[in-house]
């Protein structure tokens, strides 16, 4: 009797685990059914390596957006990951309890602010600042809506994910590691950075992956502040369009091949993310074997 329950539940668990596979398969089907024929029509090389995007003339090249996505995400990682991990360490191991009572809800709140709000904040505060300070005072030019602004914004937006996942995994590290290090005469900082944090590596990595996922997939905020010019990225302080922005911006009015080309953009994005994840898990497997 009990055994039946155990077995049934085991399969229930298994089914749940397969939910994400099912979701991906369904999304895949939908994307591929609409996107792949379009790619075929446009020509895979013209599509992936084309430097021009002119839907009005049926020219669909998404290389600028692929590069744009890579640059902006890299920028977000450069800005968001170090700050996020360090803040997670602060919250888990440095924060006085009184401050923590304020910090914790604050970070959770940061996670709950909708992208649109971030977008308006960026538009009204960040863009003018970048335009006036970097663009005009330092002479980099540009109207403020740029790759740099988008990177900063995304860097901020991935903070709460990295911080909360990182913090809880640092907290989960047994205290005996920390005590052991202190007893060897290590300072608090050394114990934390060279004993506790490495032990929380997998959790921190999970946070980063979730964060990068958010950075790649984020749109609402990015389209407000990135400029969105459909051309090859021209510089840090010039506008840029990402794959996701391209989809969101034009989906509203796109029809026929134009629409399918946008869905094909999503296919590319999808494959892109899949590749990154496969790469990650490969690296991780290497790491555990070696």
């Amino acid at each position: 009797m009990k055994d039946i329950k155990e077995t049934v539940m085991k399969y229930v668990f298994l089914l749940c685990a397969c939910a994400s596979i099912l979701a991906v398969v369904l999304i895949c089907l939908f994307l591929f059914a609409n996107g792949v024929p379009a790619i075929g029509k446009i020509g895979i090389f013209d599509f992936l390596l084309g430097e021009k995007w002119k839907p009005g003339n049926d020219i669909y090249g998404i290389l600028p957006f692929i590069l744009g996505s890579i640059y902006v995400t890299a920028g977000a990682i450069v800005i968001g990951v170090p700050v996020g991990i360090l803040t997670a360490i602060f919250m888990a191991r440095f924060c006085p309890p009184k401050l923590y009572r304020f910090m914790k809800p604050a970070v959770d709140l940061l996670a709950g602010i909708p992208s649109v709000v971030y977008g308006f904040f960026g538009l009204v505060v960040l863009v003018p600042f970048v335009r006036d300070f970097f663009g005009r005072t330092l002479g980099f030019g540009g109207s403020g809506a740029s790759m740099f602004t988008a990177s900063v914004m995304l860097g901020i937006m991935i903070l709460p994910t990295i911080i909360s996942v990182g913090e809880s995994s640092i907290r989960a590290v047994p205290n005996s590691y920390y005590e052991g290090a202190l007893a060897l005469g290590a300072t608090h900082e050394r114990s934390v950075f060279f004993t506790v944090v490495p032990a929380a590596k997998s959790g921190i990595m999970a946070g980063i992956i979730l964060g990068v996922g958010r950075a790649i997939g984020e749109t609402m905020a990015v389209i407000m502040i990135a400029g969105n010019q459909p051309r090859m990225p021209k510089g840090l302080f010039k506008g840029v369009r990402t794959l996701t922005s391209n989809i969101v911006i034009e989906m509203g009015y796109a029809t026929d091949l134009h629409r399918d080309a946008l869905i094909a953009t999503a296919v590319v994005l999808f494959v892109f993310i899949l590749l990154i994840n496969l790469l990650f898990s490969l690296v991780k497997r290497r790491g555990t074997n070696g």
Binding site: P55, G56, L123, S143, M224, R231, R241, G252, T255
Partner: protein, 287 residues
Amino acid sequence: ACGSNGESTSDAGSDSGSDKEASAEAPTGEISVISREDGSGTRGAFIELFGIEEKDDSGEKIDNTTEDAQVTNNTSVMMTSVAGDPQAIGYISLGSLDKSVKALKVDGAEATAENVKNDTYKISRPFNIATTDKVSEAAQDFIDYILSAEGQKIVEDNGYIAAAADAAAYAGSKPSGKIVVAGSSSVTPVMEKLKEGYEAVNPDAEIEIQQSDSTTGMESAISGVCDIGMASRELKDSETEAGLKGQEIALDGIAVIVNNENAMTDITSDQVKEIYTGEVTDWEDLQ
């Protein structure tokens, strides 16, 4: 857009109505060109009417908008960007215009509904609704209302231009039922007013408005998810082939806007074309 204008700038505007001209300066420096996204009704009308779109030798239409133009798909982002950048220029629907930005006269004509109606201001786009052949009784009655004198008055009261100049008064059967209207976010504000107007005369009707975008509106109408689709552009061939019938319910003027600090008040259509094709990139070079 954004409240920066809504709140702070509109205040500034009201208490400094007179010294507005004084604080405004002749623009200098690089022009920040802001455009709408490819395919949007606003952009379509804009590039066509200013000659930014040209036919090439083979007769195909080429959109010559400069690649350096910032692109947005959102009216309020456009307004906020222009309101925040003294060197910016952009264009928006007349219905959305407020004091946070300044609409330029084009070839001497002021951007008002009046001028669009009497054809002195040429830049406008249509608001369309679309249905399949199978229109429910309730939906048809609502459409009748929209196209009636009452409905068209609501359109005009909200800053748009009536599509049917002298429509007959509404004399519908006021059937009960649920009507789902879906599509363009540009059409939605006026559709909400129409809904409220209609529900006042026909309390039995239940109207649901789904705001998304023109294409989604058309698709929803085709697939039957909604009864009436809204589009702020002309219907595409593929859509009419799928059985949709379009109906113009209003016209919307398009205003060329600049920052309030910009001293310019007038612009010619050639200048607009030069700016948007990238021939002129600096305010000082503008003739």
